[in-house]
């Protein structure tokens, strides 16, 4: 009996050896997915909200990391090109570096989680419209970094043929890129109406900021969307400052997710890409089920000033910016999660960083080398015209034709 037991135990321990070896090998392989807890969203007129846990696959995690890093690097490169005066005009970035400059460039640093997270929660056939902080969305909606940077430098390879610049970028199912804040919201409601009419189960994400949230036309859009049950997701990107005005000084109610009143709303942690993704999935499902519009407030932050002419420190402290940078940076959050759950290694992510940097460099080269649009195009695309007509202008000096 003892011998048999010994023999059995030898066999068993032998069998146990193999899985142990496999376990050793497996720890050099990564987990396929991991479950994370995410912040619960505050709700308005909703019985329940998005789930508080979510599963992130390795594949998705790497994809999001790459996308967020690309947006960040792209914005930093745009910042650099701007300082070199290769980009002129206004430039509003999505990133976060302090810069003291003379012109506007509107950056989205640290708002990467918003654009990548939103895209992760919808389909490419859904629609999106936003205001001027649009570079990140142009990328997540499918355009290449080259086309974006070339548009910033005003070259003909740019996505709007060089005629729009920083604020006016467009792509398939992405309607810009709009300079007058608030004006894009009724447009978004209109796109949602078209979605409903076409019956293809599509939704429209209509974004605006905490500053624009006080514009009258937004409330007009809320009313129409609710009345006609349009599949419109209103999204307020609250980065706490409308240019230099903090939200408390501009809004009677800073609960932007409740401002739709009769429209249900949720407040989402906009620095956590997984939270944004889950909330977007929830909101999209809500709209697709025909219940009407819904409102999401993404609580986010921008490191940069409003634009390149705004150092961003006259209305807030450097400590505040530093604190957000060290505790809530969205890329860092994702990276920590992935590394700690064995979804990826630090080296692997560093490799992605290197690849992204190269892609941005190449794009910047293109954007600097590509020729500007030809002068004849000054008059193009005013109307839909057939045949081309002559553009009225400065007395007989150069005649421009408008061609469409």
């Amino acid at each position: 009996m003892r011998k048999m037991l010994a023999a059995v135990s030898r066999v068993l321990s032998g069998a146990a050896q193999k899985p142990a070896n496999r376990v050793l090998v497996a720890s050099r392989n990564f987990a396929n997915d991991a479950t994370f807890e995410i912040k619960k969203c505050d709700l308005h007129r909703l019985e329940e909200g998005p789930p508080v846990t979510t599963v992130l696959t390795r594949e998705d995690g790497l994809k999001y990391y790459r996308m967020m890093q690309t947006v960040r690097r792209m914005e930093l490169k745009a910042d650099q090109l701007y300082k070199q005066k290769i980009i002129r005009g206004f430039c509003h970035l999505c990133d976060g570096q302090r810069c003291v400059l003379y012109c506007f460039m509107l950056s989205s640093l640290t708002q990467e989680a918003c654009c990548v997270g939103l895209e992760a929660g919808i389909n490419p056939t859904d629609h999106l419209i936003t205001a001027y902080r649009a570079h990140g969305f142009t990328f997540t909606r499918g355009l290449s970094v080259r086309e974006i940077l070339a548009e910033l430098t005003g070259r003909k390879g740019g996505c709007a043929k060089g005629k729009g610049g920083s604020m006016h970028m467009y792509a398939k199912n992405f309607y810009g890129g709009n300079g007058i804040v608030g004006a894009q919201v009724p447009l978004g409601a209109g796109i949602a109406l078209a979605c409903k009419y076409n019956g293809k189960d599509e939704v429209c994400l209509t974004l605006y900021g905490d500053g624009a949230a006080n514009q009258g036309q937004i409330f007009e859009a809320y009313n129409m969307a609710a009345l006609w049950k349009l599949p419109c997701i209103f999204i307020c990107e609250n980065n706490r400052y409308g240019m230099g005005t903090s939200v408390e000084r501009a809004a009677a109610s800073t609960d932007y997710f409740k401002r739709g009143d009769f429209i249900p709303g949720l407040r989402v942690d906009g620095m956590d890409i997984l939270c944004v993704r889950e909330a977007t999935r929830f909101a999209a499902a809500y709209c697709r089920s025909g219940k009407g519009p819904i409102l999401m407030e993404l609580q986010t932050y921008r490191y940069h000033g409003h634009s390149m002419s705004d150092p961003g420190v006259s209305y807030r402290t450097r400590e505040e910016i530093q604190e957000v940078r060290s505790k809530s940076d969205p890329i860092m959050l994702l990276k920590d999660r992935m590394v700690n759950s064995n979804l990826a290694s630090v080296e692997e992510l560093k490799e992605i960083d290197v690849e992204v940097r190269k892609e941005i460099e190449d794009a910047a080269q293109f954007a600097t080398a590509d020729p500007e649009p030809p002068l004849e195009e000054l008059g193009y695309h005013i109307y839909s015209s057939d045949p081309p007509f002559e553009v009225r202008g400065a007395n007989q000096w150069i005649k421009f034709k408008s061609v469409s």
């Binding site: 209305y315 000054l378 007395n395």
Partner: protein, 293 residues
């Protein structure tokens, strides 16, 4: 003083003289995005110089309301390009108030200020010159100064004028134009054009930044063609000084058709701006063609 300082000086004078005067708009409290209201909040208090949320229609409507009660309202629209949500308030409410109430009410103590015109890098929404939209609206006055000295005098006249006024400030001149400006208040009358330079062969009429372009063209014409140009700054676009610009019978006395030199009928472009604006070469060329007509 430069242009923005002359504006600050005018506003300072107004708030000192008129206890009902208030200044409001987006970001005016810290001094404004072009520094036109620097120091005023500290001097006159937060009740008199205050920020509004981002709502142009609301800003103007609110200003009309203040003015109707008799207080002096000085509203700022951050860029003239953003004035369009307020277009209805200006054209349908402000301009018609006196007329439709049979002079019982009016909002004459309203002045709207807005940075105006091309600046080299403004593209579609930071470069527009929308005075033409308002030029056909009886009931309001539209004014565009060419320099700091002019700006202060004209702005004070607008504020004191008993009709709602829109005052467009050429943003490219905010820092670039500098001249001697008195610290005390003074007025420059509205609806009076100014003949800056007398001449006998050809008349050049312009306003705002373009006055400087046209002045340069006048000296080019004198030098290269021996042509004597009369340069007129229109100053008030509505109601404009018809008498100074042309006498009634002048149409039959003209030796060449009137020429307009301006931007193209396209939205204000992004990258094409240098080719879009009516620079001195285009104006000079038009002048040459007229002389040779």
């Amino acid at each position: 003083m430069n242009l923005f300082q002359s504006i600050t000086s005018a506003l300072d004078n107004s708030l000192a003289k008129d206890p009902t005067a208030v200044i409001f708009g987006e970001d005016v409290a810290f001094g404004g995005v072009f520094r036109c209201t620097v120091g005023l909040r500290d001097k006159y208090g937060k009740d008199r110089v205050f920020n509004t949320p981002l709502c142009e229609q609301g800003i103007v409507g609110f200003g009309i309301g203040i003015a109707v009660t008799g207080a002096t309202a000085i509203a700022e629209i951050q860029f003239a390009d953003y004035i369009f949500p307020a277009f209805d308030q200006i054209v349908n409410e402000a301009a018609k108030y006196r007329y439709r109430s049979g002079d019982l009410f009016n909002c004459g103590s309203l002045t709207i200020r807005a940075p105006w015109g091309c600046v080299g890098h403004g593209a579609l929404y930071h470069s527009q010159s929308p005075e033409a939209f308002f030029a056909h609206c009886p009931g309001i006055k539209v004014v565009v100064p060419r320099s700091p000295f002019q700006a202060k005098g004209l702005l004070l006249s607008c504020i004191e004028d008993k009709n709602p006024c829109i005052f467009f400030e050429p943003k490219i001149l905010y820092r670039a134009a500098v001249e001697q400006v008195p610290v005390e208040p003074y007025n420059i009358p509205l609806s009076q054009a100014e003949v800056i330079q007398e001449g006998s062969d050809i008349t050049l009429v312009a306003w705002g930044t373009q006055v400087h372009v046209v002045r340069e063209v006048a000296s080019m014409a004198k030098e290269k063609l021996g042509v004597s140009c009369e340069v007129i700054d229109l100053r008030t676009i509505l109601p404009w000084d018809v008498d100074t610009v042309c006498k009634e019978e002048c149409f039959l006395n003209l030796e060449a058709p009137i020429s307009r030199v301006c931007g193209y009928d396209t939205p204000f472009p992004h990258i094409f701006e240098p080719f879009y604006i009516p620079d001195k070469w285009k104006c000079y060329d038009a002048l040459r063609k007229m002389i040779n007509y």
